[in-house]
């Protein structure tokens, strides 16, 4: 019985992240539009966009290779697996021990590597500029993420996300300087990794500063739909990680009954809404920065992570 419930929870989680991801994107767009005094698209617009893209034909560049056609699925699969392993509403995920936080970071790294490669496949200068900048950002964002994982893992005693969430749920963690540093660092990394303002602008096209959009410029139809869904999943994943590590309250613990899971689900959706709202608020109140300011921004994230780890190496009580 317990195993069946575990499996059901895992399956529900995989479906849930997939279903919620476009909604989150729609919600953020809506909030941003409202803050700019526009009416904004309906909440369900991202689903409609995905369906529309799926129904259209694919226009493929003449010289696109096999990699160009397979990579969208690889990107999607890696992101989906990573998102499915983050505890969203329950910590007792049956397969959460498959990959820890470091592995989840690396899975996202795989997705990014494929994305950067396909940016160069057709041989256009826009694709190249996107890939080159993406790899420059990731070369700082990834170590920053690893140092933040170190900080969190040293506090929780494990890199396993469900174990971390369980530890964070207990009262004896308390307020810690290192966790504060890690939170700020993680937010910086999340903003950069999801190509949000001030690092990149998800709404822009035909602009030399774009990064993510430049890489996927040659994609159309179902391929583009899959990539857009993967991007939405990634945003959801980062908010879920932040929620599960720093605000774990409401998560259904291992072996608790169905009411606890329902409560977990409700709190999770609230957390997503709050996270999305804060992101929209942040994005509307700040301007995009120049590309070569981004390494400084990300470097701050890296230094915060390193500082958090160092503090914990000095004393476990920080």
């Amino acid at each position: 019985m317990a195993v069946i419930l575990d499996l059901a929870v895992q399956g529900a989680q995989m479906a849930l992240v997939l279903l919620l991801a476009p909604l989150l994107v729609g919600f953020i767009r809506r909030i941003k539009a409202r803050m700019l005094r526009r009416r904004g698209p309906p909440l369900l617009q991202p689903y409609r966009d995905l369906l529309r893209l799926c129904r259209k034909e694919v226009v493929l560049a003449e010289n696109a290779s096999w990699l160009f056609r397979t990579a969208p699925y690889m990107i999607f699969a890696a992101t989906w697996v990573a998102a499915a392993l983050v505890p969203t509403f329950a910590t007792g995920l049956h397969f959460s021990w498959t990959a820890d936080l470091i592995a989840i970071t690396a899975l996202l790294g795989s997705a990014r590597l494929f994305l950067a490669l396909v940016g160069m496949d057709v041989g256009t200068s826009f694709g190249g500029i996107g890939s080159s900048r993406e790899m420059m950002f990731s070369s700082i964002a990834e170590p920053a993420m690893i140092m933040i994982v170190f900080t969190i893992a040293l506090v929780a005693g494990s890199t396993q996300l469900s174990t971390i969430a369980d530890t964070m749920l207990t009262a004896d963690v308390g307020l810690r300087v290192s966790l504060g540093l890690a939170l700020v660092g993680l937010i910086i990394v999340a903003i950069a990794e999801n190509a949000r303002i001030p690092v990149d602008n998800p709404a822009t096209h035909l602009e030399l500063t774009m990064v993510h959009e430049a890489m996927v410029l040659e994609y159309s139809g179902r391929h583009l739909a899959v990539i857009e869904l993967a991007a939405a999943l990634k945003l959801l994943l980062y908010i879920s990680i932040i929620a599960c590590v720093f605000v774990p309250w409401g998560l259904a613990t291992n072996g608790s009954g169905i009411p606890a899971h329902a409560l977990g689900l409700a709190t999770y959706i609230c957390k997503l809404a709050v996270g999305g709202f804060l992101l929209a608020l942040f994005e509307t109140s700040i301007a995009k920065m120049r590309v070569f300011r981004v390494p400084e921004f990300l470097g701050a994230g890296l230094m915060l992570g390193l500082l958090g780890t160092l503090l914990l190496f000095v004393s476990r009580s920080f």
Binding site: T98, L107, S138, P143, M147, L306
Partner: protein, 670 residues
Amino acid sequence: MAVGAVLTCVAALLALAGVGVIAQSRSGASRLVYSACLALCGVILAVALSRLVAAPGPEPALTLPVGLPWIGARFRIDALTAFFLAVINFGAAAASLYALGYGEHEEHPGRVLPFYPAFLAGMNLVVLADDAFSFLVAWEFMSLASWALVVAHHREADNVRAGYIYLLMASFGTLMLLLAFGLLAGPAGSYAFGDIRAAEHAEWLAGLVLLLALVGTGSKAGLVPLHVWLPLAHPAAPSHVSALMSGVMTKVAVYGFVRITFDLLGTPSWWWGLAVLGLGSLTAVLGVLYALMQRDLKRLLAYSTVENVGIIFIGLGLALAFKASGLAAPAALALTAALFHVLNHSFFKSLLFFGAGAVLTSTGERDIEKLGGLIRRMPQVAFLFLGGCLAISALPPLNGFVSEWLLFQAILLSPDLPQWGLKLTIPAAGAMLALAAALSAACFVRAFGITFLGRPRSMEAQAAVETDPLSRAGMFLLLAACLVAGILPGVVIDAIAPVVEAQVGLKMPPQTSNAWLSIIPIAESRSSYNGLLVFSFIVFSTLLAVEVIHRFASRALRRAAPWDCGYPQPSPVTQYTADSFAQPIRRVFGEIAFLARERVEMPPPGDARPARLEVRMHDLVWQVLYAPIQGWIQLGAEKLNHLQFLTIRRYLSLVFLALVALLLMVAIWP
């Protein structure tokens, strides 16, 4: 006896070198030599694996009556030797298989065939040796055989210089090892490893030996700042030999370091770990930054070898630090991670060099700025090279990720170390390791993207053809090894366990008995990773996504001109180049690491001269370390030149003074 069997194979390899000399220019000679090498390496591999898995009790050393008359030459196989024998001979077997196809393109087989089996024999002998004398002889034999292979194409520009610098650095390294073994053997001169192991070594002496061993083996492995020869020499050799030098010979150097510091020296001091760790993390980051700036594909791979050697030494340094503080379990974890990375790097670096060799034979180009679009002309090589890139960029579910993951887990255990020096450096080393991993992903996106993707940048790239099936078979073998080691890491960890137990006194908990074949390095932390499930999940979700999309979405597809925001440029020079790809990273890191400066020269309006962009980069290691040394040697040589023009009386008095000085030394020496 296992030693006897392996030594027979090594003797057969040496004999094969003779065959290579005789049969060099006949047709079919290279096929004969490489297939014999393949068979012999296969036999040694089987013996080594059986020793490693079955792990029978310790075997006595076999003493052969060769070498110095009163010492003989001792050979022995213990767990450490068996592990490295397996690494060497798997790499060598794959290289021989690849060379069965690749060797046909060789213009002068007579310059490669005799030395190739000799090189393999030399590497095997180094790890088999059980006394300092035969170790050093085998080490030098290996260096000389590989030197001969480096200068095989001596008519190409720069190869002779590469060979010269290699020879110089190799002799320097051997000199350091000679001094290290001299100190270890002590005045009694007992050179057998068994005697050295049993003897007590004073702390200062052990520290000195550690430094000498670090310099001696580090110069062969390519530790910064002793790496200068490596990116010159490794690419100069034929590609299958480059693969062996980068993927396997650097591992022999790692073996030498592990043998001396973990096995022979006894209990380490805490600062050893600090020195090795510091040098390792510096090597990792600088190596990959250099790799990112290279245009030559093989040189890029050679610099990436420097990076991976750095990662291995980070693991070894951590293991030394833990061992010094008596923390056996974390030491076992760190050493396992280092040895796992040794294995992994031998797989994927050989694979990548084979890919570079295939590109080289097919296009005649090593400069990636002249390549491009090869994925359409050589789809299989592109697939295999991509696999290697994913593995070396430490991405799950391939093998490179597992060893780095284990290393990160070991770093997470280091707050238990009592020394402040280590507490403050290890987080920085962890950050350097993460930085190196991320930069290496960028480096291989660049390498693969510029070489295989985009549009061809030259006629040669446009006319490339798929390489021969035997070469591809060698690459498939290695990619399969990468995948298996990545999805079944527990099996590898358990195979390494006896090696680790012999060196640090404890092994990691057995992994293959865990549920679903997960790996759980430390039971208390419950951190786990399951390559098999990650792999199946990825395959499952990919298939699911493909199935759903193809069933419910439109399947229409139309080929059209690239979109490129409406302004597609027909000329391939408008693509991103390798240099422009690396430019943002050069701008972020290059100002510190290479003192990189960019200068834009804009002629005034009306002037017909073209605008120029000039980038200047400096090799700091060369400028800070080698150029001054060169200057001093030059200065010393000039001063000593006066001694050539003295009268006979002066010479006699010099001889007399030298004699007095030596006698005084003997009199004063305790």
